[in-house]
């Protein structure tokens, strides 16, 4: 299984990679929202996308909107991983089509549970 991780903080990205390696999920890491569209256009689609909200370039909100608007990518489940925690942020993400919302600091059990939900 393959996950695409969009996260601007390298330490956090590596942490998530380490967590996911425990359940044998491979991770491709992008550090900006701007790189997502091109990656999805040219590379094999991931089984799940893990998306931070506060990103350089395109914000996480814009990224998920793009993913869900494209017929080619709208089926890919998106899990938000963010330190934003207002009801408004959560609602906005779910309205845009997010599957789950994981708050930072990350609870690894919850992260692994949510990712496993999308494993075939």
């Amino acid at each position: 299984m393959e996950a695409l991780l969009v996260e601007d903080d390298n330490d956090v990205a590596r942490l998530i990679q380490l967590y996911l390696s425990e359940i044998k999920v491979g991770v491709t890491h992008l550090d900006s929202g701007d790189k997502v569209a091109k990656h999805l256009d040219t590379q094999k689609h991931p089984d799940v996308i893990l998306l931070d909200l506060m990103l350089p370039g395109k914000s996480g909100f814009e990224v998920i909107k793009d993913i869900k608007l494209s017929r080619r990518t709208k089926h890919i489940p998106v899990i938000i991983i963010s330190s934003r925690r207002t009801v408004g942020d959560l609602e906005k993400c779910f309205n845009l089509g997010a599957k789950s919302y994981i708050m930072k600091p990350i609870d690894p059990d919850r992260l692994l549970d949510k990712v496993k939900e999308h494993m075939h």
Binding site: D11, Y19, L55, P56, S59, R84, I106
Partner: protein, 475 residues
């Protein structure tokens, strides 16, 4: 201490017969020791006294040479309209008493010879009346003064809905003049929705763009039942500033949460990994501890910045001027920034000329090093990889300066004057680069503390130069 509302017991008695004056004085003293009694023998002396003294009661004989009691009291009325005027008169002069009463010059008369008890009673009544009137007038003036200067808009309506009273603040809120507002009625002044809400719960919010103003203002409106004018009374408070403040606080909390959570995520995560992972190589262990330490430093940097800012805003910040080694301060800031810059592949260098600087300059080396470090950190934050940040410094006759020059994105001209404001961050970057937007406002406070200047020269796409100039003359 006497206030405007302390009862006045000052009595002026005018009579040309010295025996009358002394017997009245004795009688009233005996009746009430608090009375302050002034006696004069003619009208002119009475008028002179009134020019510089307050009288609650003026008691005057009618028949006097030169100026009659009637004439004196008419003129006394001009000087002190509120003083209660009473005429002392014999039965033969009742005609002039009637005229004086009809013309409003006197309130009462007492016939000679008087009855002591009756006279004391009249004097008490007159003083009470005077003090009640005075209290009433002062309360009214205070109320009007309050309504005039309070930063609430006040408007009262008569029972038919016309505007009865409106204060200046209300006119200012609406951006209209008095005549315009006075031509309105209750129904036409407020929009229906606001009016209905006021009738249901006495409170509402009224949002509109006032005349001559560019932005929308938001007012909380309170409706008090019937005013003295017969109709309702409305109180308006401008809450536009409150809302701006609330949204700034909200933004701050959201930024603080993000800022604190990002390092915490790594610290907690890597510590957990070290605890849970069964096999860990030495290299991994070293690596994880390194992340934890780095992120802890970042966290304490954020907290340090916030504490500094709290000090500045509570006025505790003092700059302590000493002579210090200028070059050493520059070098130490540059050295401190290097590891961080290396992570992003950015080169931080000191200009060649600057390396040759020597000697001491006056200033607070700790604060100025913070300023320089903040500026360098900012430059690193906003610079793309593989660029160079140059630190320059120099000395003039009356000042010395240092500057941080980057090859970053630059700051749009419209944003340039705002960047030293607290919590400001370049709008597009709010959710991207780390930082609370506190750094530059702190820098400015520290530089201000030196009576110095911080200047910005920036072009989008070319980079920015922040220059700090510190005067050397001691004041």
């Amino acid at each position: 201490m006497t206030s405007a509302l302390t009862p006045c017991r000052s009595i002026l008695i005018v009579d040309d017969e010295a025996s009358v004056l002394s017997s009245l004085r004795r009688l009233l003293r005996h009746h009430n020791r608090d009375f302050q009694i002034q006696t004069v023998e003619n009208g002119q002396a009475g008028l002179n006294w009134l020019k510089s003294n307050e009288a609650a009661l003026i008691l005057s004989d009618q028949r006097m040479p030169q100026m009659s009691g009637y004439e004196f009291l008419a003129q006394a009325r001009q000087l002190q309209p509120d003083a209660i005027r009473v005429m002392l008169t014999g039965y033969s002069e009742l005609e002039s008493v009637v005229a004086a009463i009809n013309e409003g010059h006197i309130y009462q008369y007492i016939t000679k010879p008087w009855d002591d008890f009756q006279l004391a009673l009249v004097v008490d009544q007159c003083l009470e009346r005077y003090n009640l009137q005075k209290e009433n007038r002062i309360s009214r003036e205070r109320l009007l003064d309050l309504m005039k200067h309070v930063n609430w808009g006040v408007v009262t309506f008569a029972s038919d809905g016309t505007v009865a009273y409106v204060n200046d603040t209300f006119l200012e809120f609406l951006g209209r003049d008095r005549a315009e507002v006075q031509a309105l009625v209750y129904e036409s002044l407020l929009p229906d929705t606001v009016r209905h809400e006021l009738e249901a719960q006495h409170k509402s919010t009224w949002t509109f763009v006032p005349n001559l103003k560019a932005v929308e203002h938001s007012f909380s409106v309170q409706r008090l039942g019937s005013s003295l004018d017969g109709g309702p009374m409305l109180l308006l408070r401008d809450r536009t500033d409150d809302e701006i403040f609330a949204s700034a606080v909200e933004k701050l909390i959201s930024n603080v949460t993000h800022e604190l959570n990002t390092p915490l995520t790594s610290i907690e995560g890597y510590a957990r990994l070290m605890k849970d992972k069964k096999t860990l190589t030495d290299a991994e262990r070293f690596d994880f501890v390194d992340v934890i330490l780095r992120q802890t430093r970042r966290l304490s940097g954020i907290i340090h910045n916030m504490l500094n800012l709290a000090e500045v805003s509570s006025g505790e910040q003092a700059v302590q001027i000493v002579d210090y080694d200028f070059h050493k301060m520059l070098q130490s800031s540059v050295d401190a920034a290097k590891p961080r810059a290396r992570e992003k592949n950015i080169n931080v260098i000191m200009a060649e000329e600057t390396q040759k600087l020597a000697g001491q300059v006056p200033g607070d080396p700790l604060r100025l090093e913070q300023v320089l470090s903040n500026l360098i950190t900012n430059a690193i934050k906003y610079s793309p990889p593989n660029t160079t940040i140059t630190i320059e410094g120099g000395r003039g006759e009356q000042d010395y300066w240092f500057a941080v020059k980057d090859q970053g994105n630059g700051i749009p001209e419209v944003e340039q004057h705002k960047i030293f404001e607290r919590f400001y961050r370049i709008e597009n970057d709010v959710h991207t680069q780390e930082g609370l937007g506190l750094g530059l406002s702190l820098c400015k406070s520290f530089v201000d503390g030196h009576r110095g200047q911080i200047q910005l020269d920036s072009k989008v796409g070319k980079g920015s130069t922040f220059k700090v100039v510190i005067p050397t003359h001691k004041s």
